[in-house]
């Protein structure tokens, strides 16, 4: 019978075909990810070697864009100004967001009553869009009608009342603290997961050895918390050097007042999409050079830190 004779053959062919189709599985993800993530970052690198008129590419200029970025005024001053702000962003977030989150996670870990409520409370701000966070706090920090100054007045601290976002001395710090408010809950959850992965016996053993309070934390808890501290540090580092949305929402693309809240990403945005040096002209070449510098900086320190911490973890 004909069909019966053909059947084994077609089935085998079908199997082979099926075996090959498996290689199609990762293709859609690879294409979308490659086209919209990997390609643009490589392209940004090549863009930095060209002269640009708007978004039309001109001639090859070698490293001129990098030279201009660091030697030509006002570009170089703006760069270092923003760079300093990014550093402050990172340091203050490490202290006020991650330091606080560490302590709060420890408290929750120790199972105070209502710890589930605390977790939820700290986490709530993380649900909002960063732009909502920025606008909400802009209203709260408003010098005339904002809630913060009204509260200060009510509790008798009128002297502290300020135009928080209008004063170059307080504007940047206000923004960073708002960012801490937003990110605190995430840090708490990461550290809490870290504490929960420490075997309970270790705490008991530490107690028997007479370690208590801070000694216990330093000698037993901290070394075991290295992985989660590492994660939070790297994430905070990347995030503070990419800081854009909150500054843009609260202080606009110029980093008002007088660039006192400018960050590298906001400066980059101005160079790429207009508003740099007072005009609406774009400087895509300079912007791309800045992007490359920032990219190398972030990758270098992230890699260095991860490597260092890994080594330290092995040593322990």
């Amino acid at each position: 019978m004909k069909p019966a004779m053909h059947k084994p053959l077609t089935l085998k062919k079908q199997r082979n075909w099926k075996r090959l189709t498996i290689h199609l599985f990762p293709i859609p993800a690879l294409i979308i990810y490659g086209l919209f993530i990997v390609y643009p970052l490589f392209a940004a690198l090549t863009y930095s070697f060209f002269d640009w008129k708007g978004i039309v590419r001109g001639e090859f200029v070698g490293l001129d864009n990098f030279k201009d970025l660091f030697t030509l005024q006002p570009f170089s001053d703006l760069f270092w100004n923003a760079f300093g702000h990014n550093i402050l962003y990172f340091v203050l977030q490490m202290i006020f967001q991650n330091g606080l989150a560490f302590i709060l996670a420890y408290i929750i870990y120790k199972k105070v009553r209502g710890s589930e409520f605390l977790k939820i409370a700290y986490f709530l701000p993380r649900l909002l869009s960063v732009i909502v966070v920025g606008f909400l706090w802009k209203l709260i920090l408003n010098p005339n009608y904002g809630a913060l100054n009204v509260i200060l007045e009510k509790v008798g601290l009128e002297d502290l009342e300020k135009a928080w976002l209008g004063d170059p001395d307080t504007a940047l710090i206000s923004i960073i603290l708002v960012n801490c408010w937003y990110g605190l809950g995430f840090g708490v959850l990461i550290f809490l997961a870290g504490f929960q992965s420490i075997p309970k016996e270790l705490f008991e053993a530490g107690k028997l050895d007479g370690a208590a309070g801070f000694a216990m934390i330093r000698r037993i808890v901290l070394p075991l918390m290295v992985p989660s501290i590492m994660i939070m540090t790297v994430l905070t580092f990347i995030q503070s050097f990419e800081a854009f949305e909150l500054v843009y929402a609260m202080q606009g693309s110029q980093g008002e007042p007088y660039h006192s809240t400018d960050t590298l990403a906001v400066y980059f945005y101005r160079l790429a999409f207009g508003g740099s040096a007072g005009g609406s002209t774009t400087a895509v070449g300079l912007g791309s050079a800045l992007a490359v510098v920032l990219f190398i900086f972030i990758s270098f320190f992230t890699a260095l830190y991860l490597k260092y911490m890994q080594k330290k973890q092995v040593d322990l």
């Binding site: 189709t21 498996i22 599985f25 993800a29 690879l30 979308i32 990810y33 919209f36 993530i37 643009p40 970052l41 392209a43 940004a44 978004i55 606080l100 709060l104 408290i107 929750i108 120790k110 105070v112 209502g114 605390l118 977790k119 409370a121 700290y122 986490f123 709530l124 701000p125 993380r126 649900l127 909002l128 869009s129 960063v130 732009i131 909502v132 606008f135 909400l136 209203l139 009608y145 904002g146 809630a147 509260i151 408010w181 809950g185 995430f186 959850l189 990461i190 208590a212 309070g213 000694a215 989660s228 994660i231 990347i238 050097f241 990419e242 854009f244 999409f273 912007g287 992007a291 992230t302």
Partner: protein, 274 residues
């Protein structure tokens, strides 16, 4: 004693004090949205005297909020669906087959979690222009899928690897193809991991502000976060409506959170811990 500062009452009060700082601004936002602007200006901290919905009415008159809302829903839902499909296909391939390049592909995806994609925004802008996707919601969908893939592949691959293979082998002997095995046998067992991915990616695409700021200029194509920009730009004196806008923008996430708070908190931290 040295650790007396850690006595219970002290850290109890401390923890709850910080908790109130976390919650209060959000509470203030919601309460203020029911107050008229003049009431906010004279009595910013008090409870609303009469709950007014006029603020919401004037919000809807000032900006096409329902359009923003529908755009946000469309973008988020389509993005999440595409992330689930593309990532589970890729993760299944990486976790279940041992071709020589599988680890390379995995690493290639993982790299994306560290890449600061915002720095590639100029080439992206030109790319979107060339693809004629500027001012199209598809520009956002593609970006959210692309930025969502690395973490999703990581989570799903990890989950695939913990799952026993016996059921798949059985289905394979029965003659089922890979796609059928993935769809009928594996994915139904993956619900927890798929749920995690869904939640993370939904938050990301719902709340993102950066990409629509760059790619979308047509007011009627805006998603809620960028819609806030036109609200605050043009009507910044009407504080009642501003608070109403902020509240409406955040409400869907807050409601979802209270339905599934555990999954939210586990979901958002999972990627970082692994």
């Amino acid at each position: 004693m040295k650790h007396s500062i850690w006595s219970k009452p002290f850290y109890y009060v401390f923890a709850f004090l910080i908790a109130s700082v976390s919650i209060y601004p959000i509470l203030l936002m919601i309460l203020s949205s029911f107050k008229t602007s003049s009431e906010i200006f004279t009595n910013p901290l008090s409870l609303p005297e009469t709950f007014t919905l006029d603020t919401y009415k004037s919000l809807l008159e000032q900006v096409p909020f329902m359009t923003y809302f529908m755009n946000s829903v469309l973008v988020s839902v389509v993005s999440v669906a595409l992330i689930l499909v593309t990532s589970s296909l890729a993760a299944f391939y990486i976790a279940r087959f041992t071709f020589v390049w599988n680890n390379m592909i995995f690493f290639f995806f993982l790299m994306g979690m560290m890449l600061p994609i915002k720095l590639g925004i100029v080439p992206l802008f030109i790319l979107m222009k060339d693809l004629q996707l500027l001012n199209s919601l598809w520009s956002l969908i593609f970006m959210y899928v692309a930025t969502g893939i690395p973490l999703s592949v990581l989570i799903l691959t990890g989950f695939f690897r913990t799952m026993p293979r016996e059921l798949e082998e059985a289905a394979r002997i029965d003659g089922a193809g890979n796609l059928r095995i993935l769809w009928n046998v594996v994915l139904p067992l993956m619900r927890p991991a798929l749920g995690t991915v869904m939640i993370i990616q939904f938050i990301q695409s719902w709340n993102d502000f950066f990409f629509p700021l760059i790619f979308i200029t047509d007011d009627l194509k805006r998603t809620i976060p960028v819609g806030m920009l036109s609200l605050f730009g043009e009507y910044s004196a009407d504080w009642g409506a501003l608070f109403a806008g902020l509240t409406l923008a955040s409400l869907p996430m807050i409601v979802l959170f209270f339905i599934a708070s555990k999954q939210f908190m586990e979901g958002l931290t999972q990627g970082a811990i692994k």
